[in-house]
């Protein structure tokens, strides 16, 4: 009886999970299929399976539509911004979580409270600042903006994780002769890896896909990032849906690869403290 019940439960679970997978993976597969079809083929039958795989579309997008430039711009901007946010954010979170100093909580509150501002509010002032400092239409200016915008959430997530690490660990390292920086480097970072992986993924996805600041702060075509590149296929009268799909696939693959490598650590980071 128990065996039959268990089989039923397993079957039900399988059906639910399959339905959910189809629901979440469906749009991705659809775009993947469209990326291998031409726009006329898509117009004829939007949901059809590719009759012929147009792999050359990737080549065209990559070389003729400047996707190689956009891609490397995105890699550079996102890579440097995420690396900087991770280093600065984890150091700040370590200090806020570990050291008692006057105004500790107020500082954390101030950092976190900047999250409430919608991007449109800071846009004009940021634009003005970047123009004044000669950073408008530069990749370094865009990187600085991304760092500033990603730091509050990063510090908040990491501070929450780091503050749950037992103080005894850090005292033990002090007794073992390690300096404050060595303790951060050799204890906080490796132990906090699940939380750090979480912030890396969140920041990577956010910055990689970011459009609003990039479209306002970058004018030169050679400095554009991938989301701006995809926009190029939106014409005034015609939308090249096939090439948009190809562009989307090019931009989405790094995110998927990153998620595959870090997802386990991210889940551990998100559920840290939930179970003993």
């Amino acid at each position: 009886m128990n065996l039959i019940l268990r089989r039923w439960k397993q079957t039900l679970l399988l059906i639910i999970l399959s339905a959910y997978t189809a629901y979440s993976a469906g749009p991705f597969i659809w775009v993947a299929m469209m990326s291998l079809r031409t726009t006329p083929e898509i117009s004829d039958s939007p949901y059809a399976f590719p009759m012929e795989f147009h792999w050359e579309k990737y080549k065209i997008a990559w070389s003729q539509s400047n996707y190689d430039i956009y891609f490397w711009n995105s890699v550079m901007v996102t890579g440097i911004a995420v690396l900087s946010v991770t280093i600065i954010g984890s150091m700040a979170a370590h200090c806020l979580a570990r050291y008692r100093f006057p105004g500790n909580r107020i500082l954390l509150f101030v950092i976190f409270s900047t999250l409430i501002f919608p991007p449109q509010i800071v846009m004009i002032s940021l634009f003005q600042v970047l123009v004044e400092y000669g950073l408008f239409d530069t990749r370094s200016g865009l990187i600085l903006v991304y760092i500033a915008l990603s730091l509050p959430l990063t510090v908040f997530i990491l501070e929450g994780f780091f503050s749950r690490l037992p103080q005894d660990l850090f005292d033990a390292a002090k007794m073992d002769g390690y300096s404050d920086f060595e303790i951060y480097w050799r204890l906080t970072l490796p132990i906090g890896l699940p939380a750090i992986a979480t912030t890396v993924i969140l920041n990577f996805i956010h910055i990689w896909n970011e459009f609003l600041f990039a479209v306002v702060l970058i004018a030169d075509d050679s400095k554009r990032t991938l989301p701006l590149g995809i926009q190029k296929f939106y014409g005034d009268r015609l939308e090249d849906v096939g090439m948009i799909a190809t562009g989307v696939m090019i931009s989405v693959i790094p995110v998927i690869l990153l998620y595959v490598f870090f997802s386990e650590k991210m889940i551990r980071g998100m559920t840290a403290g939930a179970v003993k």
Partner: protein
């Protein structure tokens, strides 16, 4: 190895009114096993952390081997500490944990390997060297924490309630292991606990702390037999000392305590020493084990007979604990009797009190009164 001396050491936490540690003066001899004992929040761990250099000293001085250490950072004090939570680095193997402190101190690699191996052999950790802490049992983790301290060969070992996370059986065996290690290493060890059994069985001397203040220092049995005040009398011993108010009077050449309709003559006490307390209230302390059903054949000291009524019986197998109602005593009065005791709740029974082991305390200061006749 080193001696440690605290001179008028105080600790005040920011924003706190009172002192967490109040004028602590304590000298710990080279190679001694000193236990700091007290209830939770009494300041014993704070004192230990100040010795370690993990907390700053608000005022007073700390000397290690005669050298002033107040401003010396923890890493330069050559002290190792075992924490209550063990504080093992979760991302490192047992070997990594043991070697972590040595690496920082620039010990050559072959020397690190040798010392780690020696300590692992000594503590029975050789087969776990590649394991991470999460894959170890509580007892094994405790041994790794101890090994991490031993491997550094420090001047002083500090222990902050290291056995409190272990189950009862493991606690006993680890207690013996620690004592054995102390004998083997001959190092100065300072051990913080709130468990009086640990203190009594492990410490060469114990230092009792209450509300940040040192109350009494001495050898365990000395402190047990001669508590300095009512706090020590109550804190040390399980069940605790029975404390109750009585009236001190003269009875011929002797003194007697009077409570309810009882008058107990105390011939061993010196009326001259007690002169300031005659005809005044006083606090009397009687340990539960100094109460008997009948005169024990091996004890020749005088016993006073008091009538009591049994309020509760706790038969523990090896012994029987009675809670007694005694006329004139409002406080709970416990007696630890022989396992063959057949008293039942409601029984009226006479009990015998060993009058050579009665303690008297000043009701104003709660300090013990030196009241026995000089030998």
């Amino acid at each position: 190895m080193a001696d440690v001396e605290l001179k008028n050491v105080c600790k005040r936490y920011p924003g706190s009114q009172g002192l967490a540690v109040d004028s602590l003066c304590l000298a710990i001899k080279d190679g001694e096993f000193m236990v700091l004992l007290g209830p939770s929040g009494c300041g014993k761990s704070t004192a230990l952390r100040m010795i370690a250099g993990l907390e700053s000293i608000t005022s007073g001085n700390l000397f290690i081997d005669g050298k002033k250490m107040d401003e010396i950072p923890a890493k330069n004090r050559d002290i190792a500490m075992v924490f209550q939570s063990y504080a093992l680095y979760p991302h490192m193997s047992v070997e990594g944990n043991l070697a972590f402190g040595l690496k920082r101190r620039g010990v050559p690699k072959p020397e690190i390997v040798r010392r780690v191996k020696d300590v692992a052999d000594m503590l029975g950790l050789s087969e776990f060297l590649t394991r991470k802490p999460y894959a170890l049992s509580g007892g094994q983790r405790q041994r790794v924490a101890l090994g991490r301290a031993i491997v550094r060969d420090p001047k002083v070992f500090l222990f902050d309630e290291p056995l409190s996370n272990l189950d009862a059986a493991l606690r006993v065996s680890t207690r013996n292991e620690l004592v054995k290690q102390h004998q083997r290493l001959g190092a100065t060890m300072i051990y913080v606990t709130h468990d009086q059994v640990e203190a009594m069985t492990m410490g060469e001397r114990i230092c009792i702390i209450n509300q940040g203040k040192l109350v009494q220092v001495g050898e365990p049995l000395e402190v047990y037999r001669n508590p300095a005040d009512t706090f020590v009398a109550k804190f040390l011993g399980n069940p605790p000392t029975n404390l109750f108010s009585a009236h001190l009077e003269t009875s011929g050449d002797d003194v007697a305590i009077k409570f309810g309709n009882h008058a107990v003559s105390l011939p061993s006490l010196d009326p001259l020493k007690l002169a300031p307390y005659i005809n005044r209230p006083i606090i009397v302390g009687i340990r539960p084990e100094d109460i008997f059903e009948r005169q024990p054949s091996h004890l020749k000291s005088p016993h006073a007979k008091i009538s009591a009524k049994v309020a509760a019986v706790e038969a523990l197998g090896a012994e029987t604990l009675l809670i007694l109602d005694i006329d004139g005593i409002e406080e709970v009065f416990r007696a630890r009797l022989d396992r063959n005791c057949i008293a039942r709740v409601g029984n009226k029974m006479p009990i015998l009190v060993n009058t050579d082991e009665i303690h008297l305390f000043d009701p104003g200061s709660n300090r013990a009164i030196d009241c026995y006749r000089d030998e």
